[in-house]
């Protein structure tokens, strides 16, 4: 399987400047593990010491916020688009 992951600007230094990378995983949690194999260090930037997504990181699967799905256990399938986006933006 192949999942397309959009990488936010602050993390592109870890992906050799790529704004979009291919990875895989049956759930969001697995995807983050696999991303970390490909781009070491990326998980500790996205997750806290307990391995949970940080408060100010939002993840979207096919444009839907995973907090409306099954959080980090949201299942992924071949061809899914995942966006990682800083939560701090906007305001009316």
């Amino acid at each position: 399987m192949r999942v397309n992951v959009r990488i936010p600007t602050p993390l592109q230094s870890l992906t050799q400047g790529q704004a979009e990378v291919a990875s895989h995983g049956a759930t969001v949690t697995e995807l983050l593990e696999n991303l970390n194999q490909q781009y070491p260090g990326i998980k500790e930037r996205l997750c806290d010491e307990r391995g949970k997504l940080r408060r100010f990181v939002n993840v979207f699967v096919n444009e839907e916020d995973i907090r409306f799905l099954q959080m980090d256990q949201t299942p992924l399938k071949d061809g899914d688009d995942v966006s990682i986006i800083p939560a701090i933006a906007g305001g009316q």
Binding site: V57, F68, S83, A87, A89
Partner: protein
């Protein structure tokens, strides 16, 4: 003279240069402007303030620009009104309205934040400005960018009120109506901002932009002769305004303008979009996003960027939060208009309705001082009122026709 040291992560404290940055590379926390308060203390005094022009730049030392301001010379310094008729209707002793429904030039408090954002965008050498907006910000960016000579790109949900669409288009921005809700527009714009070299006022310019909301708090303090109110009810969308009012009061305390902060903050949201109120009532700092469904479109942010900080500020102040249904919102708009002669938008209806509930519930004691924050103008959100206000009395241009109709009207009123 600049009093701005740099940017600092609100979470981990890492320092960043004062550029178009908004998020910490390490922990994704938001960046906030860091000031040299010792230097500010020397020039920002009650005495120096008295002689300054009546616009929001009178608080210049506490605003994040390096040179002289270039945008917003007529914004801010809006009326602060002792609202005795509304006080009587709500059965509370001392009530004030801080009225940004008449802020120059686009009739909402967004003229404040945009004045700061565009002044800073110019210093950072941008020639194009942009925003993701529910309408008021769109109007403010469109107008002030026209005045300042920036190219302007505005992104909004496609289902905005006609008044807010017209009040953007007249200034000739590129207006992009996105088929989605505000949270989707915002996410899209975060991705666009990463790709295009534009000053998105509420994304990459956000640390500077957000500081503009402090002027609403500074003005309340100054207009009360540096006596802070005991209660202030604030509408909440992204949660930034209430957070920055608190910061404004903290800064005034730090600089010795006020000795203590007796103020409790209250967030007002619509029942159909209340992630901040829910967190307060459930006593948690985890903000659960929602899919908004409310006539208060300017408050329809289901995933509030500053929700966490808003909750922290409300808790620190000992305040609370309340919601208003669509019917209560319309009733709130009508009550404010009928008692105080102020026509506010739906968000103001939310605030009045929430204040009413907080007083009835005993959260706000009836004998203490209350400020209701009115942040937008009702001429922009007329749709929900169309079937709610009755119709004019239609007559022929004769005295007989008038007197006949007038008699009927009076009888109908009595019945």
């Amino acid at each position: 003279m600049s009093y701005m040291i740099g940017l600092k992560c609100r979470e981990c404290g890492r320092l960043y240069p004062k550029e178009a940055l908004f998020v910490c590379e390490y922990c994704f926390g938001s960046l906030e402007v860091d000031y040299d308060y010792d230097a500010i203390r020397r020039s920002f005094t009650k005495m120096s303030l008295a002689a300054r022009p009546k616009n929001l730049w009178r608080y210049r030392e506490l605003l994040p620009i390096e040179g002289e301001p270039t945008v917003g010379f007529f914004s801010g310094c809006t009326p602060f009104i002792k609202a005795d008729r509304l006080a009587a209707a709500l059965d509370v002793k001392t009530l004030y309205i801080k009225d940004d429904s008449v802020c120059h030039p686009t009739l909402s408090f967004k003229d404040r934040v945009v004045s700061i954002a565009l002044s800073r965008a110019r210093e950072l050498h941008f020639d194009t400005v942009a925003c993701a907006s529910t309408g008021n910000l769109a109007n403010a960016v469109s107008a002030l960018a026209a005045w300042a000579g920036f190219d302007r790109y505005i992104f909004t949900p496609a289902d905005l009120e006609l008044g807010k669409v017209v009040a953007s288009l007249i200034y000739k921005p590129t207006l992009v109506a996105v088929e989605g809700n505000y949270d989707e527009v915002n996410r899209l714009c975060t991705e666009i901002a990463a790709k295009y070299h534009w000053a998105f006022v509420n994304i990459n310019i956000r640390p500077y932009y957000a500081e503009g909301s402090k002027t609403y708090g500074f003005e309340i303090a100054e207009q009360l002769d540096w006596q802070l109110p005991q209660h202030i009810v604030v509408p909440a969308a992204g949660g930034s305004l209430i957070t920055k009012i608190w910061k404004a009061f903290k800064e005034l305390q730090l600089l010795g303008f006020v000795r203590e902060i007796p103020t409790r903050l209250y967030a007002a949201q619509a029942t159909g979009c209340a992630p901040i109120v829910t967190a307060i009532k459930e006593r948690t700092d985890i903000i659960k996003p929602v899919k908004p469904k409310t006539i208060a479109k300017s408050l329809a942010i289901g995933n509030p960027a500053d929700g966490y900080y808003a909750v922290k500020a409300i808790e620190a102040s000992g305040g609370w939060a309340e919601v208003a249904t669509d019917e209560e919102i319309v009733a709130g708009m009508k009550l404010l208009a009928e008692t105080e002669g102020i026509f506010t938008e739906t968000a103001g209806g939310v605030t009045v309705a929430a204040a009413k509930k907080l007083i009835e519930e005993g959260r706000i004691p009836r004998d203490e001082s209350v400020v209701i924050s009115i942040t937008g103008n009702g001429l922009k959100t007329q749709e929900p009122l169309l079937q709610q206000l009755g119709t004019p009395l239609k007559i022929q241009p004769t005295l007989a026709s008038f007197e006949h109709t007038f008699r009927q009207h009076k009888e109908a009123k009595l019945a």
